[in-house]
């Protein structure tokens, strides 16, 4: 199956523009545009140019090592991998139901991760685009530019992120490479001093998160023509859903809706994910393309992440975030919102939900408890799903009699959104680039569409001098005509 603008006829006759790698996106991604002599867009692709080899990295390891080592897959959301692997390995040690303390400590860790990741994304990766405009001077379009022009916004972003990281540090035991979550439970709870340390700031954090939702909403209301249409395309949604249809970012069953909001499937147990989701390989990208089996690869692709979750659930179990969810739905007019920039608004609703959830957990005496572990009958297969900041994260393992991982399958959030991101940049290319001279500001429109999904394309390699932004123009004969590069 190929989509409109996915594969051009006679590509050898077209001019090639490469954005390599995509800036402010985690990992190694590249966008290529093929243009004809009139600058008409003929092909648009988001490639993943690095083979990640996650499964090979994990197979053969003792199962108890996995929750710690998978954190090294990603320097941006290591806690999500830590918890998804722990949940899968719970089944290996026979822990069918965690102790209340263990589950709540894990939830505290997870919602700290949601908060810090969403704060980084909104305040530091996207606010430069949103507050300055997509065509603004490139030197201004970064977080330092935001800090200069909007010091209070930047300061709050830093402090919200820091608070989330402190919640992680205190529950995981370390700032990075945490060991707090282990198969069958956790290895520490909070002391009263640690609880009070977080409690003293949480009300301020909740207030700031609520302000951030309002900022995101104001951006939509200020320029609805842009925000309601940028990178728009219709698709299915998917996420985990908790009890009674409520948003639950830590656990639940899979639910999918179609583009008009009707339920496609619901109540799917995590262990049954392969009955509903299939992955397609395409020769031009290392990242697979998942789709719903029942609909096939042509119609069955979908979005995950904040825009999906906020519209997939029936309610949010914290009052301020739920009120904001209802305002968002009202704004959308009773039909699902599909615009790429809707991710930012919903991401802030989730950040508020994370702050409220942390507040509630800090008032729960179970987080101070000492009953940390559960075990039971030994198992040989485990499924761990979690709603990571960027969307549904699936860990699936088989463990042999020698306690070694014999099979590993990971579907990370960004992989679920692969087709959606490609569709978004094709829409933007048609709308903004088609038939025009390519400028840096226009190319940034492509990156804005990708960044809305907050993709995490690889893992944490951030050596100095690495991660340059290069834009290459290559003529139909393959000759490099012009190259721009800025080092990160």
């Amino acid at each position: 199956m190929t989509y409109h603008l996915e594969t051009a006829e006679h590509p050898e006759k077209l001019r090639r523009v490469a954005i390599d790698p995509v800036s402010r996106v985690e990992g190694h991604g590249k966008v290529t545009l093929l243009l004809d002599e009139d600058n008409k867009v003929r092909q648009v692709r988001l490639h993943i140019v690095e083979f990640r080899g996650f499964e090979k990295f994990i197979q053969g390891r003792p199962y108890w090592e996995v929750p710690v080592m998978v954190q090294r897959l990603c320097g941006i959301c290591p806690v999500s991998h830590h918890l998804a692997a722990s949940k899968a390995m719970d089944a290996i040690v026979g822990a069918k139901r965690l102790t209340p303390t263990a589950e709540k400590i894990r939830r505290l860790m997870h919602y700290g991760q949601i908060m810090q990741s969403h704060a980084l994304h909104f305040f530091h990766l996207c606010s430069p685009d949103l507050l300055f405009g997509f065509d603004s001077e490139v030197g201004q379009r970064n977080i330092v530019g935001v800090a200069a022009k909007h010091p209070e916004t930047a300061r709050r972003g830093v402090l919200i992120r820091k608070f989330g990281q402190e919640a992680i540090r205190l529950t995981a035991g370390k700032r990075i490479h945490g060991t707090g979550s282990i198969p069958g439970g956790v290895n520490k709870s909070l002391s009263v001093e640690e609880r009070d340390y977080l409690l003293k700031d949480i009300y301020q954090i909740v207030a700031w998160c609520r302000d951030a939702v309002h900022l995101a909403r104001e951006l939509h209301e200020t320029d609805p023509a842009l925000y309601n249409s940028f990178g728009i395309f219709r698709s299915h949604f998917m996420s985990l859903i908790g009890a009674d249809g409520q948003m639950d970012l830590y656990d639940g069953r899979l639910r999918a809706r179609d583009d008009s909001g009707a339920i496609h499937f619901d109540g799917v147990a995590q262990a049954d994910y392969e009955k509903y989701i299939q992955e397609e390989v395409k020769p031009w990208s290392y990242m697979k393309f998942p789709y719903f089996r029942a609909l096939g690869n042509e119609r069955g692709w979908y979005k995950v992440g904040p825009l999906a979750r906020v519209q997939n659930c029936d309610s949010i179990p914290t009052p301020l975030a739920d009120a904001e969810r209802r305002e968002f739905l009202d704004y959308a007019g009773g039909m699902p919102m599909h615009t790429a920039l809707g991710y930012h608004w919903t991401r802030m609703i989730e950040m508020l939900h994370a702050a409220e959830t942390i507040k509630d957990l800090l008032h729960d005496p179970d987080i101070l408890g000492g009953d940390l572990m559960t075990t039971g009958e030994r198992g040989f297969e485990g499924f761990g799903m979690i709603e990571a900041p960027r969307g549904t994260l699936i860990h699936h393992y088989r463990v042999d009699e020698n306690d070694l991982v014999s099979m590993c399958n990971l579907i990370v959030s960004t992989t679920h959104n692969n087709q959606a991101m490609n569709e978004a940049i094709r829409h933007v290319a048609r709308r903004y680039l088609h038939g025009r001279e390519i400028t840096e500001g226009l190319l940034n429109h492509i990156e804005v569409a990708i960044r809305a999904y907050d993709p995490c394309l690889s893992c944490a390699t951030h050596a100095l001098g690495k991660m340059p932004l290069a834009v290459e123009l290559v003529d139909a004969a393959g000759t490099l005509v012009h190259r721009l590069q800025r080092d990160a």
């Binding site: 996106v25 990295f57 990766l125 970064n142 530019g145 893992c459 944490a460 050596a463 990160a488």
Partner: protein
């Protein structure tokens, strides 16, 4: 959770499972052992992370000096050790930001001038998942290590002179 901080902070970033990206964490671990053996560990706070980010500006508060350690790709071999200045005109950002941008964030978010800061950049060659340190990077690490020791000694001597 303590109000007092060590006078010096060393921040190293890298992923220990990404080949030569481990240079920063490896140097930090070696530094930790050496500072303890020298009996001066209390004067340094050592912070490891996957990448430098905006919140590290908060780790600079109240310090007499700071050092960032990272692997470099395409940077001078075997290493460079240079002072860093706040720079808020560094082009595009990424999920990580360079030390100079952390210092610029300090100015904006914390206020005032950040402490004197240096960057130790050790050249790496290969950064693939699951790889160990390359022989070239291992040699660069050995070359950088005595310079790092000297740098820390100099910080301590300067602190003693000011007492």
């Amino acid at each position: 959770m303590s109000a007092s901080v060590a006078p010096f902070v060393v921040l190293a970033c890298g992923n220990p499972s990404r080949g030569d990206d481990a240079l920063g964490p490896l140097l930090l671990a070696r530094l930790d052992g050496w500072l303890r053996a020298e009996g001066v560990a209390g004067h340094f706070e050592l912070i490891e992370d996957f990448q430098f980010q905006v919140e590290h500006a908060l780790d600079l508060q109240g310090r007499a000096a700071a050092l960032f350690i990272d692997a470099g790709e395409g940077t001078p071999a075997p290493f460079t050790l240079r002072p860093a200045q706040p720079d808020d005109a560094l082009g595009h950002g990424t999920h990580a930001i360079p030390p100079a941008a952390v210092l610029a964030v300090y100015r904006r978010v914390v206020g005032g001038e950040p402490p004197p800061t240096s960057v130790l950049c050790v050249r790496g060659e290969h950064f693939a998942l699951g790889e160990g340190l390359s022989p070239a990077a291992a040699a660069h690490l050995e070359a950088a290590w005595p310079r790092l020791q000297t740098f820390c000694h100099d910080l301590l001597r300067a602190m003693v002179r000011e007492l």
